[in-house]
Point group: none
Chain length 211, copies 4
DNA sequence: CATGAATGAGCGTTCATTCAT
DNA sequence: GATGAATGAACGCTCATTCAT
């Protein structure tokens, strides 16, 4: 990995520059995007590396120049997405979800479901299988983060509703179900429909803290 | 136990000819049940025929005595389940869903999610994959039946709510999301929780036809 | 692995018997023999499973019906051979190598080199690579057994020669070198040559304990 | 460092044209040395070009600037070594091995085994495989040279021992076996041990021609 | 001269499916 | 009806080799 032979740049490497990095970055993204498409369309297990390579227009071997394994490729896709999502859920990282935050949480979630449809599909796919789900939480203590979020959510409802437990379940049901529909059958959800759903969510769950 | 002719059924086994069918049926169900368990736990693609055979306590080969392929086995499992469910949705097969029917629909659905958890898991799994979803509707004109149901549902809401389109979307979201939670994390849903959710559903969606 | 369905032997399994076992044993030996040939001819790393299958006249896949991996196949070959050899080295398992035992050790070794030429070739091959040699000693505490043997050998020489350390080195050199020649170029070693070499070994190393 | 024309060698690098050859030679040797290390440690087949490049601190591609293939690289390493060894065996190239030459042959061999340990390891490795052994003798009529040497050695023993055939076999055994031990487990051979072995060899095989 | 991204053939392995018994 | 040995196509992956720069 170290280049001990860089004595004379002019003679030794006259043609290539540090945009090897650019190539790598670009290629890496190409592969991740292609894998994302294939995974979300066929499911992780039913997707073959050959299909991903074909989708990307490259050779199978090249994929392993960028990722250690098919599984690691999946992990990278998810990690990137989850990192991106993480901020959205409780941005200022304090111990409370404010009314305003809850509102913008809806917006961000629904936005993300339109922008990152394929990621959501994969997440839903994986959540169906007990075996694979550990992938999600193996890396960065995602598990504990998730638990924290759950507690904050519970607190939000506890401060606003009489039966927070049940309200939380209802909340999660609506959100999860709508996500599923939005993500799997986006053609069924016009922008107007989505807006009206948003408003309904506001009306149901957004309200000031009970004093 | 010794020296009987194995070659001539007529002479050899006067007692077993009566209910070959029963044996076949029993075996068939054993295989389907075992496959159901394995599929729902690991996912269709990640499940092997060997695992199913092991789960059933039979040989791999025998499975092919009852089903043409792994895929057909899946189809049979789903067909059976979907047929069973079909009646529930609009039992008397007329052109309307009555208020009462809607109520009992809730009950049946939620019952089924507890009783047939594994079927639901598989259904959800498959619904994530564009390719496989066609399986579901290939056989018996399930597609058209589904469409009919949708129309009836729309009619139900049209006769009761101002914005039926949106109301239907909301209805489907809640139901689908709750199903997902109930089916994937049943331990999170006590009977009380389920009851309270049922009541909430009644309150939201059960009301008499607007005249 | 358990057969829960053996209710009626006569009807359920009229054609196959417990000579499945025989088939398995036979096939296992065929595969091990074929692998032995290929490994010894080309070396472990340069041998492909396809070549072994071809040598055995079976499909690649079948090999994995009998062995978990190419590496395990190697291990089994070696284990079998080493177990066979183990007795020869110090049969009555006491703490001493007698003069007589040493004599019969020569005989057995040289016999084995003619009978099990390929095994010896593989052993020599593996002994060239630090990485792979651990294979040999991973299983059955072969490592410690080997050390024990070395100690006994040292004791043998200590009781008979002035400079046992050097004598042992000389002994090992002659034996190892002769083994190499015998095993790699057997055509160069007529039976007469082998006999004369045996006698030379006797003369050099076989003598009664110094009192 | 900036703005020089890279395209025209004549203008650009007036100072580097003198000893391109030196650079090439240096690089070539670096690659051969690195390959030697890797080959001897892991074995030829288990060694990858990438590992060699890493060991040498250069790129994979560069290796192919100096050698046509991995196999040719091996051949070159061996050729160089064998040429070097060839002189040692019968330096003055006449038709006889004198007593003195035999003595210095021992010394040179044993020296070489310490100095060129890796070469010897590779030679031993390859000698285990029927297929590859032809590599050694394909190039420069090494085969016939080897045969010549054998004849000279036989003559040496014929002139000094009663049963030269057997003596030669014994001689080769001791030498080969000791080489193996010295080369594979050098830590087991202290300088004293080596000296005593040398003396033993002298005593056994060095004696004046019988008149 | 030197780089490392890229290829593709072939590896070890798995598994749905077949078939003699 | 029932078995499990056997097959072969396809999988995930490796690596010697090529080539644009």
């Amino acid at each position: 990995m170290t280049n001990r032979s860089f004595k004379n740049k002019i003679i030794m490497t006259p043609r290539t520059e540090k945009q090897y990095k650019d190539i790598r970055k670009e290629r890496r993204e190409l592969i991740m995007d292609s894998a994302l498409m294939v995974f979300s369309k066929k499911g992780y297990h039913a997707s073959s590396v050959a299909q991903i390579a074909k989708e990307a227009g490259i050779s199978k071997g090249l994929i392993y120049n960028y990722f250690d394994s098919k599984e690691e490729l999946l992990k990278c896709i998810l990690d990137e997405f989850i990192s991106m999502m993480a901020d959205m859920i409780n941005p200022n990282n304090d111990d409370e979800i404010t009314t305003e935050e809850m509102k913008s949480f809806f917006d961000s979630m629904i936005d993300s479901m339109k922008t990152n449809r394929e990621h959501w599909v994969i997440l839903f796919q994986l959540s169906m299988q007990k075996d694979v789900i550990s992938l999600l939480f193996s890396n960065q203590g995602l598990g504990s983060r998730n638990e924290k979020t759950m507690q904050l959510a519970y607190k939000y409802f506890a401060e606003r509703f009489e039966k927070p437990q049940e309200e939380l379940l209802f909340f999660r049901s609506v959100l999860k179900g709508f996500a599923l529909i939005l993500v799997l059958t986006p053609h069924m959800c016009s922008d107007d429909m989505i807006d009206s759903m948003k408003k309904r969510l506001y009306k149901l769950f957004i309200k000031p803290k009970a004093n």
